[in-house]
Amino acid sequence: MALKNAAIPFMRIVIIGNGVAGITAARHIRKRSDHSILVISDETDYFFSRTALMYVYMGHMRPQDLKPYEDWFWAKNRIELLRARVVAIDFEGKTLQTSDGRSLPYDRLILATGSKSNKFGWPGQDLDGVQGLYHWQDLESMERHSRGLQRAVIVGGGLIGIEMAEMFHSRGIPVTFLVRESSFWNNVLPAEESAMINRHILEHGIDLRLSTELREILPDAQGKCRAVLTSHGEEIACGFVGLTVGVSPNVDFLRNTPLEIGRGIRVDEYLQTNLPDVYAIGDCAELRQPPPGRRPIEAVWYSARAMGETVARILYGEPTPYDPGIWFNSAKFFDIEYQVYGNVPPALPPEVETLYWEHPDGRKSIRINYDRASGAVLGFNLMGVRYRHHVCDHWLRQGTHIETVLENLGAANFDPEFYPQHEAELVALYNRQTGQTLRLKRRRGLSLLRKIGM
């Protein structure tokens, strides 16, 4: 199986970090080479799905269920795992120092150290009972603080904040949710979708406070948090404060080394740092020149995975530049699933037209953005509706005309069988808005995809 590339001599590859970036790199290197691979992590013995931490807290899964590979997988694939903390790297001598006193040589080093939760200097931010949610240890800490908890306050209206709200809510712990913006996640979501999620958060009985910031966290006599003070001067008693105001690259231990670091570890399009034979991938990497429409740092599962694959190709000898393709992402806000394909900015640029359909129950919506002049589709935003990645990606790459897309919209539908299909309503809406007389030509189905060659 291992297709050895004769041009690449045997190397000792060390990967710091066993998250999705590091592990994807290790797996892909192993598939196509016989290099020695060592993955070091201080967090856990085995790779687990970070995005699923919430489901352990909610009792949907056990900790071991988060592991995408069984434990025998690593030895069988000759991927060596080491539980240790890297404290120093000698880039000259190509050697790592670990906290337990080991000195480990490498030929190629991949830094995949992930993120750490942001704290913005609030008074009381280091009190007991104040934390973010990123690492396995954060989950353990949440668990410890949950016993007898009367109220949790969550600060930050983003993806982790709403996850944390759902977690506490699942255990009947009241949640106050402080969101700085005037509507949930409206720096990413357009106004209608954002409003839908506001309604949904309230429907679940969460005490949602929009346009409200954290001013201070107040301690009790034991140095544990007892309340927060908001920007409106209100004091809210709570035994736990979740700080979910984003993450930043986990690179502090690499500062003051020859490695070039901005906010993250600076890399080129081949994910190479300024130092020879040292690569950075995933949340900790900062692209010097991000692809058009992309950010230099994307702390997203999918980008980390794509970077892992890219760095692997380089190391097994088929280098290609990092190409994350058309932007896509997904999330779930309590019960409402969210998918996005392409570019759907929160505020509509003047050259962009939008077609927005919302179900009368206010829990489903479909938005298609397209270029006003050329009619080319630019992005899809789905709430409570599933669309097919391949189909949307294909249309976005081709810049397919909105009317062609609408006529064939059934091909994109990925909802389960027997679900109501809303594509015809979208077409009717478009007709009303533009005076056209389009008709939906295709409903969904596998055979349909075969027909259009996908």
């Binding site: 967090e43 799905s49 900790p63 995408p68 539980r83 396995w136 240890q137 410890r144 896509f328 779930k332």
Partner: protein
Amino acid sequence: MGQTSLAVTITDMQNASLSIAQPAPVLTPWRQKVALALGALGALLLLIVWAAGRAVAPVPTLLASLGLMAAGAWLFVREEYLKHPAGIRNNGAWFRSLTARGVWGWVLGVFITGFYVCLYWFPQYLKGLIELFTPLSQGLRARAADQWFVYGTLYTVAVLLMGVKFFFKYRHNAYQRIRTVSVVFFQLWFAWLLPGLLVRLQQPEIYFSYFWPLSYYQGTPMAYQGHLKSDLGLFYFFFGLAMFFIGTPVLTYFFGKRWYCSWVCGCGGLAETAGDPFRHLSDKSLRAWRIERWLIYSVLLFAVAMTALLWINVATGRSVLQQFSESFYKTYSFLIGAAFSGVVGVGFYPLLGSRVWCRFGCPMAAWLGIWQRKKSRFRITTNGGQCISCGNCSAYCEMGIDVRAYAQRGEDIVRASCVGCGICSAVCPRGVLRLEA
């Protein structure tokens, strides 16, 4: 990376859920406890009658028991599901003693196992229950109850009540709603009411929703000779054959094995309704998959060999194989028909999950699975790169398929064992999985 406290790691917690490390994180709210208590009280009435060995005032007792169970089920549905927005509600599945192999799980397992042991081998101990169900049996079938009527009725009640619970748990999901109505209907009509009415009309007691080799007796010469007595019986005999040789390949080609396993079959019906709270207990390891493949096809071979021997015996004028073929039949009937499908298959729901029999033992599932794997349009497709490897799909697969292993590679899932229940697609938080045919 993270805090320095590494006291508990994933490895340390291999066999322990957070609930054990940190006791009882999820408390069942009191109203749900009342609901469970009502249901348990209804079951307790049955238990008392069972233990007493006789039923005083059977009609009020049975009505009270069924009424309590129904009230408990409805109260639970109202509190657990209807008072919250519709969505996936598996909260605490791994924390609750009953659904996480805790004490209550074992108690329930022992209770059901004990019932099956009595049913198959010691029916004299079910005398009280048989008396209890006799008025109902008289009403439906115009004859006294026997242990099989007791069993069939309790089975149907379980499918019905837990079917209602399942329906409302997944009320946001059209596929689950329609599938549940189907599976409850087939149990209620084809596996309870219709056979009862046939008995009343002096016709053979036929269960049209079961065929050989799941209903292993139906392929034997004994069954054939019995059916010769009536047109309906003869029709059923050949209908069963046609379903095996023609119906199964054709229907499985178009719909996958779900046309039977999760829409029609009574075993599947119980698993999908009463078994739903235990679906996450199935073993997802590669080792379990290996055992599954050996075991299920062995049972199919066993069933075929057993039936063939009986027919050869008849064809050779009962001269050579008489003793041998009969003892072969009896062995199958004891090991597979009773011990595996009944005692282990249902009794171990709270320990091994709801589809132990369907996954490891059912010869019909094996036959359907061969067609599904080799010649079917049915598959579960994955949505591009959207998988986040969270593992909900694998965790809630009652057949123990490691769905995530395929989904995270963007591969279609074509597995012999998949019964097409659609729960992987329902619990996926990123909209990655879709059943297609």
